[in-house]
Symmetry: C2
Subunit: 491 residues, 2 copies
């Protein structure tokens, strides 16, 4: 194939960019910082969407759709939130173009079509949604309100990377309203659990659940819950967040409800989201120097069958053997592709499906026909085996399960081997260089957190939910600390 192969150990970042493009997942567009998600990449995103959507509905949420634009006056209502996003907002100021009098065939912005109030392209939808909820919520009977939205959002990032950080990205954002503080916190935690379960069972990526420090919280939140994944270079990737918003947005938009007792109270809120960033996590957690490694659950093609033949007559004989196999696999809900294109050699096809991460490859040649066998190659371990045609569908079904488990176990072992407990600043610095997460004591102040970030580029990824309380001293300040937190360099 006509592309440069890059090894992870040589340049992890370049390896990633190359893989995204070469595996036909996404590419840069003509618009600064915006990507095109190509059909193969989008097919993976669709599978993520289906699984998440199912889980949201099972936990009682409904989908809805709110406007792309947020009038500036609404955007600035919740001050912390507005301040947090102000520097990365795309702003619509005009609603019409007109012919350029000096350049025939060209257009200019029509200065007469200036908006009275500028519109912000949503970087997140709390403002527009809470200005709407104000009319939907009058009484405790209207609560809880459990809504999710699938949408595009825009954050004008200066440095962008395909899937990981793009000016426009696709995501879902849940926005819920509750009558009590406790219920809202439970919702935020429930949705974090949904994300974690999805990441682990479906993407085969082990995650650590925790809360962010105040410094790292979502702008406008009282608490931000996070799931953090570990990539193969040891860096952290925040895979999803769930926010307890307190009454901040209810107060900004005056959303009150009548309680059973007849009093008026501000509504409690959560919001939670995952985005196309998960595509980046999926790629970086499992793939290797030959290309993508996709867990079977998420692979658009789970099994590819490639005929090895000389001449179209031999191909025809193989195809007749393949058809019932293909049908039998489809009946089991396994997505299978038979690549009988005569325009490409089998070696080219092998490399292509390796690059695309197809979990199971079956090759069938004339000798296999004689022996009633096929050659199976699994993408994750690259093992090959000759197996009988008899009971082949069951063989493949259990192989797919095994691949899913193996990919997860490998990532889990890597994660566990790369969480390092350190107690001194020297250890901390040295360990960070090796990569992975570092569990260390911190004095709990934003100042120390900032200093550590400035000196090492490491941030506090989270305070794990299952943390043990443990007396200690801060690695930097030497002040007293009550628990360890997880540091890492992050995407």
């Amino acid at each position: 194939m006509a592309f440069q192969k890059i090894k992870r150990e040589d340049d992890y970042s370049k390896w990633y960019n190359n893989l995204v493009v070469n595996a036909d997942l996404a590419e840069h567009s003509a618009v600064r910082g915006c990507m095109v998600i190509k059909p193969y990449g989008y097919a993976i995103w669709e599978k993520m969407q289906q699984q998440l959507d199912k889980r949201f509905k099972e936990t009682g949420h409904s989908n809805a759709y709110f406007p792309l634009f947020v009038p500036k006056s609404l955007f600035e209502a919740e001050e912390k939130n507005a301040e947090g996003f102000a520097k990365e907002c795309a702003v619509v100021t005009h609603y019409r173009l007109k012919s350029d009098p000096n350049n025939p065939g060209k257009l200019i912005v029509d200065p007469d079509a200036k908006l009275e109030e500028e519109l912000i392209v949503r970087p997140t939808s709390e403002a527009i949604i809470w200005s709407t909820y104000k009319n939907w919520i009058q009484s405790y009977r209207d609560l809880p309100l459990l809504i999710n939205q699938w949408a595009n959002v825009v954050r004008w990032e200066m440095r962008t990377r395909l899937f990981l950080r793009t000016a426009e990205f696709l995501w879902q954002e849940g926005h819920t309203a509750h009558s009590t503080r406790q219920e809202a916190i439970e919702e935020a935690e429930r949705m974090l659990d949904v994300y974690a379960e999805f990441a682990e069972t479906f993407l085969a990526i082990p995650v650590i659940r925790g809360v962010k420090t105040p410094n790292e919280r979502f702008a406008g939140a009282d608490e931000t819950y996070t799931i953090e994944g570990m990539m193969q270079d040891g860096k952290a990737l925040q895979m999803g967040t769930s926010h307890f918003l307190g009454q901040n947005f209810a107060k900004a938009f005056e959303v009150k409800f009548a309680t059973k007792e007849g009093t008026q109270e501000y509504v409690w809120a959560t919001s939670w989201g995952v985005s196309t960033r998960l595509m980046g996590a999926l790629i970086m957690a499992h793939s290797d120097d030959e290309g993508l490694v996709l867990p079977p659950t998420i692979a658009p093609i789970q099994v590819v069958i490639i005929p090895i033949y000389k001449g179209l007559e031999e191909l025809e004989t193989i195809s007749q053997k393949v058809k019932p196999l293909q049908e039998a696999l489809k009946k089991l809900g396994i997505s299978v592709k038979y690549d009988d294109r005569d325009t490409q050699r089998s070696g080219w096809k092998f490399a292509e499906y390796e690059l695309k991460g197809v979990p199971v490859r079956i090759a069938i040649g004339p000798r296999d026909l004689q022996n009633n066998t096929v050659e199976i190659a699994r993408r994750d371990t690259k093992e090959k085996m000759n197996v009988s045609m008899d009971g082949l569908t069951e063989t493949i079904q259990s192989l797919l399960e095994d691949i899913q488990n193996t990919i997860y176990s490998k990532a889990k072992a890597y994660q566990q081997n790369n969480i390092h407990v350190v107690n001194t600043w020297a250890e901390f610095e040295a360990t960070l260089e090796k990569g992975g997460f570092v569990s260390a004591h911190w004095d709990g102040t934003p100042e120390t957190e900032e200093k550590i970030k400035d000196e090492t580029k490491a941030t506090i990824r989270c305070i794990p939910l299952d943390n043990n309380l443990e007396e200690g001293v801060c690695i930097l300040s030497g002040k007293a600390s009550k628990q360890r937190v997880l540091f890492a360099r992050a995407y």
Copy 2:
């Protein structure tokens, strides 16, 4: 219920707006011309999406995603297309806000963050997509390219109506590339057929397939195919269009391919789309003065079961009878809701589900328990019947089919009774006042078409695909005509 009931015959337009809001489908937002699609409305849209997406995939298309923004220089490349949309473009000119020095807590657009090149919020994606296809297409082997996108688009309309005409709307847009003119025309026609089949079997709305006159074509198309539905007030609603784009975009973006013979040729294109406008069509085609009438295929709740009881003990007895019924219906893939809320009276519930268009309502009271019966009411004809509990699931299943057919047949009869053949200008004007479509001779000139529109507000909806050639004279100019075309006032 606390809303004003409006009859179709009194004010059709007001009836529509009220129904959309009262049935919880959508509402106006804080952003001029943009709507909020509420959970019940979005659930219907999701069902449309699923069905359409399935059909697109069955006809060989893949989904992908292209940027929301189109740089102005790309937008203006295909001149006719650009000219067609220039007057309704939302334009992003800045990428940052900053604190307003004169108003603490408020934000202003940062004048230092002006974009070098303005970005148009896509009104349609031909420009951004064909600028991308340029890199994807080199040879005949890369063709056909069959891609669809689900997205939001923005067209700055001055007069908006929920679902029918909104500044932002949701849609799908297919964009395909082909090596021959013939293949592209076949694709455009195939997708029109997909839309027509979907409209008729799934939305139960009969449509007329035709081509638009040059005047009414999509900006940048060589031919626009359309499906036209007839609403209950006799007006036409364009429900979907499919465009043969010739080589217009290939030429604007220099997209050529190497043929098998080694020559270089411009690529042939189509695009096709349907939008949340279909929600408007669905509402206006079938609903009545009591509320929505939803064909069972599209109804988020197909069957609602309402207990009629005095006291919680009686409710409990009924609930025990309902549970196995509910399970049995679910197993058949029928979506069923048991509304046992004790906070609302049964009369309130009856009106509520009537308003929401639930096709089948089952009421069960103590006398039903004694008699082993239930009361079934169908939403479309409002008929009620007492039926036995025995074989109830089969009764309901065939009732749902019958409702689907009845709704379609009613709409079909209405459509057929309201296509009027006229031969003179006087007849034409008089018939238009009665409503419906008018089949009349037209001399084929854009001038006559414009005059008719100016004088009567009727436009040529289409030249039906199955049209008979027939000599005649134009109703306005008296000039020779070779076929009749369909006129109507339209949404």
